[in-house]
């Protein structure tokens, strides 16, 4: 199995619900707490497994705002695992999930240096590295109803922009959708083979942009209109 996520950049509205659901589940889960510093202060900081950035793609008028959620890519060739000197970082053979054994981590930050995606954050309170677990304590939990055995971020997404599944199965939803809609890896040139895929926004019908023409007659009309409205 090769478990991972597909994120649809076409439908993501950047509401941050996935990040909040992630924080809520994991802060009370096996890797918790995800420590916050000054949570009600002026500059609140803390550990998050999932962060959403917002980009402007293209030049006006042919531009689009793209909301960009990022968590661990659970890379096939995970550099964070390769560089870890203690063996605290490991990739599970059975499903490809990259995890940190917090009992072994010495907090040297080396894995965070090796990760290009910023997926790993040091919990300065506990002194250990923390990261997305793909909700490993949820997806295998047989006490949960079967439809809820998904990562918290996928469960909560109000626009269904997130998909979870097995990329080794060519007929799984994630394999089909990333094949049909050209799912992309981020920074593929580094060669870490990130498992998570991002679906580019669909081609949309072009919307004509209204260009405000100005000439002297129109200027007089506008002036009269404003006068009358008053």
């Amino acid at each position: 199995m090769k478990l991972g996520l597909v994120i649809d950049l076409d439908t993501c509205v950047g509401c941050n619900a996935c990040a909040v659901a992630c924080k809520q589940w994991n802060t009370s889960g096996t890797t918790g707490p995800l420590t916050d510093f000054e949570p009600y202060g002026k500059d609140p900081t803390g550990v998050w497994f999932n962060r959403i950035r917002n980009y402007e793609v293209g030049d006006y008028p042919n531009s689009k705002t793209v909301h960009f959620p990022m968590s661990c890519m659970h890379c096939d060739d995970a550099a964070c695992v390769t560089v870890c000197p203690t063996g605290a970082s490991y990739k599970r053979e059975e499903d490809g999930i990259v995890l940190v054994d917090q009992d072994k981590c010495m907090g040297c930050n080396y894995c965070a240096w090796a990760c290009p995606y910023g997926a790993r954050e040091l919990d300065r309170e506990d002194g250990v590295m923390k990261k997305c677990t793909l909700c490993v304590d949820r997806i295998y939990d047989e006490n949960l109803p079967e439809e809820e055995r998904q990562p918290a971020c996928v469960m909560t997404c109000p626009t269904s922009a997130r998909y979870f599944g097995d990329f080794d199965d060519p007929n799984s939803e994630v394999s089909i959708i990333s094949r049909e809609r050209n799912g992309e890896q981020l920074m593929p040139e580094l060669g870490y083979e990130p498992v998570n895929k991002y679906l580019p926004p669909r081609e949309k019908k072009k919307v004509e942009t209204y260009v405000n023409e100005t000439n002297s007659i129109k200027a007089v009309k506008d002036w009269v209109n404003r006068l009358v409205a008053r």
């Binding site: 900081t45 962060r51 950035r53 550099a79 000197p85 930050n109 090796a114 995606y117 300065r124």
Partner: protein, 312 residues
């Protein structure tokens, strides 16, 4: 990258220690008339081991959870950090064997040469591993190049060579061959550093386009998604004004290479010899400390592409 003082101190002092140990071993085994004698060689080796130990202890201050540091030797098959740790720890018995050989004068000349070469090679390999900790990271292009470990070795050897001169000068007033060798080491180290600064000046590697998968249009960060800093911005977002970086580069060349080179060239015979070498050692240490600070401060991690950089 955030320049952590513990790591800067570690790489400079332990590098200098390994350099000093290697040079002591090599000089003691190849020189026909060693002015140091067993006493001097042992003193020099002991100073080297002291520097190494202080550096290694300093490196643990960088750990957020040092109680697990003993586990750091377990992944030598993949991790350069584990390799460096293991080589550094196993260097102690090798060094002890070398010092025992010198102290008791056992095993004859052939054994001395063998154990000297083994110790020197071990010391240099350990500095190489320290450099490879940084050079193996594809995420930081300023580090991911062959000159990173070479610079570590050359600067370690240069500092070790200058300290060795100082130690030797306490036994024998002038050793022209050693002064010439040290001067060459300074020149080679300076040239390698100049090439390094030229190499990292060329933009390369991932861009905001490959980082976001939108490779055919302009991509701009619109909002980073957090109001205060995060671990990522604190660790990787460190940035210094361009003008200050350039000024510090000049200081590196002034203190690390120019001053030691000049006092070796012009100072011998002009000032008391120990003063000459002491000035060279202190100046070189200051220069290499700045160099190591720059090594971190100039490094740009690709995660900055997600915080608005177009290219790192």
């Amino acid at each position: 990258m955030h320049p952590a003082l513990s790591v800067i101190f570690f790489t400079v002092t332990s590098g200098a220690g390994y350099g000093l140990f290697a040079i002591t071993c090599i000089y003691n085994s190849v020189s026909q008339t060693n002015p140091l004698g067993a006493h001097g060689v042992l003193l020099s080796s002991a100073i080297a081991l002291g520097l190494i130990t202080v550096g290694l202890i300093s490196s643990t201050f960088h750990l957020a959870n040092p109680k697990n540091a003993w586990r750091a030797f377990s992944r030598v098959r993949t991790s350069w950090l584990a390799r460096e740790g293991l080589l550094a720890i196993l260097f102690y018995p090798v060094a002890a064997l070398y010092m025992f050989t010198v102290w008791k004068d056992v095993g004859g000349y052939n054994w001395l040469v063998i154990i000297s070469m083994l110790s020197a090679l071990w010391a240099i390999t350990t500095i190489f591993s320290t450099g490879m900790i940084y050079a193996c990271l594809k995420t930081i292009r300023q580090w991911h190049n062959p000159l990173t470990p070479i610079n570590y070795i050359l600067l370690g050897a240069m500092l070790g060579g200058l300290m060795f001169l100082f130690i030797v000068s306490m036994y024998e007033p002038v050793i022209t061959g050693l002064v010439v060798t040290s001067t060459y080491l300074i020149i080679i180290a300076a040239i390698a550093k100049i090439i390094y600064f030229f190499w990292i000046g060329v933009p390369a590697g991932p861009t905001i386009n490959t980082a976001t998968s939108f490779t055919s249009s302009m991509v701009r960060l619109f909002d980073v998604g957090h109001t205060a800093g995060t671990f990522l911005t604190e660790e990787f977002g460190y940035e210094v004004a361009r003008a200050r970086l350039i000024a510090l580069r000049w200081l590196v060349f002034l203190f690390a290479f120019t001053v030691p080179g000049l006092v070796l060239w012009a100072g011998v015979g002009f000032m008391p010899i120990s003063v000459v070498f002491a000035v060279a050692v202190i100046s070189a240490f200051v220069g290499v400390m700045i160099e190591r600070w720059l090594f971190f401060a100039e490094a740009r991690h690709v995660v900055n592409l997600y915080h608005g950089k177009q290219q790192c």
